[in-house]
């Protein structure tokens, strides 16, 4: 067999269920207190600093990290439960989600000890927000074409250039970015990029919000002008960022956020249809539920493999490929079925508002964090086609 894909039927352990109850109870309290409206994913600003701190106080940020950095040393599967419950409830996770999922783990692996001791506990307390500086005006999917320069100077580097489509840069305290420290070589066009920790809200950084088709201002242009980064903010090997990027992708690509982004429209459709659906509605709902259940089983399976120390890069890319295509199509399929919902359905207006927002959100889902085309290239490589 060429492929030998693995998706073992891994179950979340019993202790996850207690945690799930705690997360649900916490979210119910937050909703009751008016922190957020679970039926309104289109809220103006998803940034909720006080909520972030309360999530941190629960011990649900950086929960897999070592205790000495503020973590809980719990499993990826427990983190999985927290992530999916937050996502399904439409909780305002913007401030902490990136730091918890990927910036923290990068720091854990590559940052010097004093920086870890400084920043990681603050992530765990929900106090700091991270952005990721990858794309530039002329390099998106082609990450290794990045041109923003880091020029060596006394005690550090001077940064000049522009990052773009940077989510949350307008609220972020830090950014983990790749900058060019050397030109690419003939043998290796990926050579010459270095990963840096950047402190935001400093002179030399200009953040320009960019409006999105949803009406939100979630991503930004970030312009660096002679911005100084000290030597100890280099993360990993100088010129060697390409070696660091790939193995972490499995964590980033297979989580519940990769198929649950528009899930709320399915819940609302079921509410609108009521207890006695006609055949068409029943079939439509049944298929969508079978599909989301399958996606979740795939995603949990990858989480289990990660917990077991494996690197299921191809499997993770498959989860993101079919997961994002699914969550992109979901609002359109729900729209098909919503056409038959009774005028008298009490949540009709909510459903329509949600569909409007989900349909506007849909195009980005197969672009952000690795496009469908890039993912299929990775899968094809795994199949031995490249």
């Amino acid at each position: 067999m060429t492929a030998a894909l693995r998706f073992d039927p891994i179950r979340l352990p019993e202790k996850c269920e207690q945690l799930r109850k705690e997360v649900r109870a916490f979210l119910a309290e937050e909703i009751a207190a008016g922190t957020f409206d679970p039926h309104a994913p289109n809220r103006e600003d998803n940034d909720a600093p006080e909520f972030s701190r309360r999530v941190g106080a629960k011990g649900w940020l950086g929960m897999t990290w070592p205790k000495k950095y503020g973590g809980q040393e719990r499993s990826f599967l427990e983190r999985y439960v927290v992530t999916e419950e937050m996502r399904v409830a439409n909780a305002p996770t913007r401030r902490f989600f990136v730091a918890d999922r990927q910036s923290g783990p990068v720091l854990l692996k590559y940052a010097p000890e004093h920086i870890k001791m400084d920043i990681l506990p603050r992530i765990c307390r929900g106090e700091v927000c991270f952005a990721i500086g990858m794309s530039e005006p002329n390099s998106g999917s082609d990450l290794f074409a990045a041109k923003t320069r880091a020029t060596k100077t006394d005690g550090g580097y001077l940064i000049n250039g522009t990052k773009i489509w940077t989510s949350s840069a307008h609220i972020a305290d830090y950014m983990i970015a790749i900058f060019r420290t050397s030109p690419p070589t003939k043998e290796n066009r990926r050579h010459g990029l270095t990963q840096f920790l950047v402190k935001m809200k400093q002179p030399g950084i200009q953040v320009n919000p960019i409006g999105q088709i949803t009406g939100q201002f979630e991503f930004n242009e970030v312009v660096f002008t002679d911005y100084f980064v000290p030597d100890d903010h280099v993360l990993g090997e100088v010129d060697g960022a390409w070696k660091q990027a790939t193995s972490e992708l499995a964590y980033e690509r297979s989580g519940p956020e990769r198929f649950l982004e528009t899930y709320y429209v399915l819940t609302e459709l079921v509410r609108a249809v009521g207890n006695n659906p006609d055949t068409r509605s029943a079939e439509g709902i049944g298929r969508l539920v079978a599909q989301v259940h399958t996606m979740r089983r795939m995603s949990v399976s990858v989480a289990g493999m990660l917990q077991a120390g494996k690197e299921p890069v191809v499997e993770a890319s498959i989860v993101k490929d079919i997961g994002t295509v699914w969550e992109q199509q979901l609002p359109h399929r729900v729209r098909d079925l919503a056409a038959f919902v009774e005028e008298t359905a009490t949540n009709r207006e909510t459903l329509e508002k949600q569909l409007d927002f989900a349909i506007k959100t849909a195009p980005k889902l197969t672009i952000q964090g690795g496009t469908t085309e890039v993912l299929r290239g990775i899968i094809a490589r795994g199949l031995g086609l490249r």
Binding site: V270, G274, P277, E283, G286, V289, Q291, R297, I318, A380
Partner: protein, 355 residues
């Protein structure tokens, strides 16, 4: 996969590799390969995997049997192995001993019904029964005034209208007209036709997942051999992306089917929402994957894959045929949709997250 499952699956794999090589059997139009294959499977105790020793079987676990079915799907096995296993499992539910030889289950569709008469005889009509023509006995699920019964029936006492399914295997209509069963016993509490259909659906899901794995494998190999426009077609991005999508469909089918099998293998009872969600979802998602995946496999192969000489149809047509057995994906989608609607919107996520 536990070690014992590996050993059983490896035994099956070896028998299929030796006696059911796709190239060889594709050229054997008379079916001379079938008898030696069935003998070898019987000697290994595989057809009665799910029947305990004291009822005439080999007493393998549910998980071990499921692993055999996934392997059988990878070889698109055209003898009634899955059907005999399922029939043996059904008879075992009522503690009825399994006879030797090929069996199948009646009915094989959620719409057909067999009834028990006042004299204990069985009547009814079942369409689309796989391998009925090849079976010596039927395991029958029937309903009567005393509830649900399970019966062992001599196939010679039934009228069988022979038919052929999409995959070229027997797919027949079975009519029982006051047939006296060999044995009949009450089904256990909570066991009904839905239970049988869900189990049959999981069996077919595993076979579909296996066949998709084979289709991915032969499609990748073919794309690495076939040259067009002066390069291997595997080097074209359009072909790569199609194969990546096929891998995705294979992955979804594998995950859905093995998850459902694992659920049934570890369930205390089969009449609950968790089993229903898993088994119905597996049949729905695997059937969708069969359509999308076999379409891509054929597209990659071009005209050669459309020939009877090529082995691709052995997998693609069977995967498509298996969608219809024990309830199609649209049937199960309606049933699952009703269940979800009945539980209500706020109980949907708790159901999904319970797995």
């Amino acid at each position: 996969m536990a070690e014992s499952e590996n050993i059983v699956a490896e035994t099956a794999e070896k028998i299929f590799a030796d006696l059911a090589d796709a190239q060889t059997i594709n050229h054997d139009r008379q079916g001379a390969w079938k008898a030696p294959l069935w003998r070898a499977l019987t000697e290994a105790g595989l057809p009665l995997s799910w029947v305990p020793d004291d009822l005439g079987g080999s007493g393998a676990s549910l998980a071990e049997g499921f692993s055999v079915l996934n392997v059988a799907g990878r070889h698109a096995i055209a003898v009634p192995l899955a059907e005999t296993m399922l029939a043996g499992w059904l008879l075992t539910q009522a503690r009825i001993a399994s006879p030797e030889g090929e069996m199948t289950v009646v009915p094989a569709s959620p719409k057909d019904r067999v009834t028990v008469g006042a004299d204990g005889s069985l009547s009814g009509r079942a369409r689309g029964v796989p391998f009925a023509k090849d079976a010596k006995h039927f395991a029958v699920l029937a309903s009567g005034k005393d509830g649900i019964s399970i019966a062992l029936v001599d196939s010679a006492k039934c009228r069988i209208e022979s038919g052929t399914g999409l995959g070229g295997d027997h797919n027949d209509t079975v009519t029982l007209d006051k047939v006296q069963p060999v044995t009949i016993k009450p089904a256990p509490k909570g066991f009904d036709q839905t239970t049988l259909m869900l189990m049959g659906g999981v069996v077919r899901s595993l076979q579909i997942a296996g066949s998709l794995e084979a289709m991915l494998d032969i499609s990748v190999r073919y794309s690495n051999e076939r040259v067009a426009f002066e390069k291997k077609i595997s080097k074209f991005q359009a072909v790569q992306h199609n194969l990546a999508r096929l891998a995705g469909e294979n992955a979804a089918a594998l995950a859905a089917a093995t998850s459902a099998a694992d659920t049934i293998a570890n369930a205390k009872t089969l009449d609950n929402d968790a089993v229903f969600l898993e088994a119905a979802s597996a049949k729905i998602r695997c059937s969708e994957a069969a359509e999308k995946g076999s379409g891509i496999a054929h597209q990659v192969h071009g005209a050669i894959g459309f020939t009877i000489e090529h082995i691709l149809h052995r997998y693609s047509l069977r995967a498509l045929a298996w969608r219809d057995d024990f309830g199609s994906e649209s049937y199960w989608a309606v049933e699952l949709g009703k269940l979800v609607a009945n539980r209500g919107a706020d109980e949907l996520w708790p159901l999904v997250a319970s797995r």
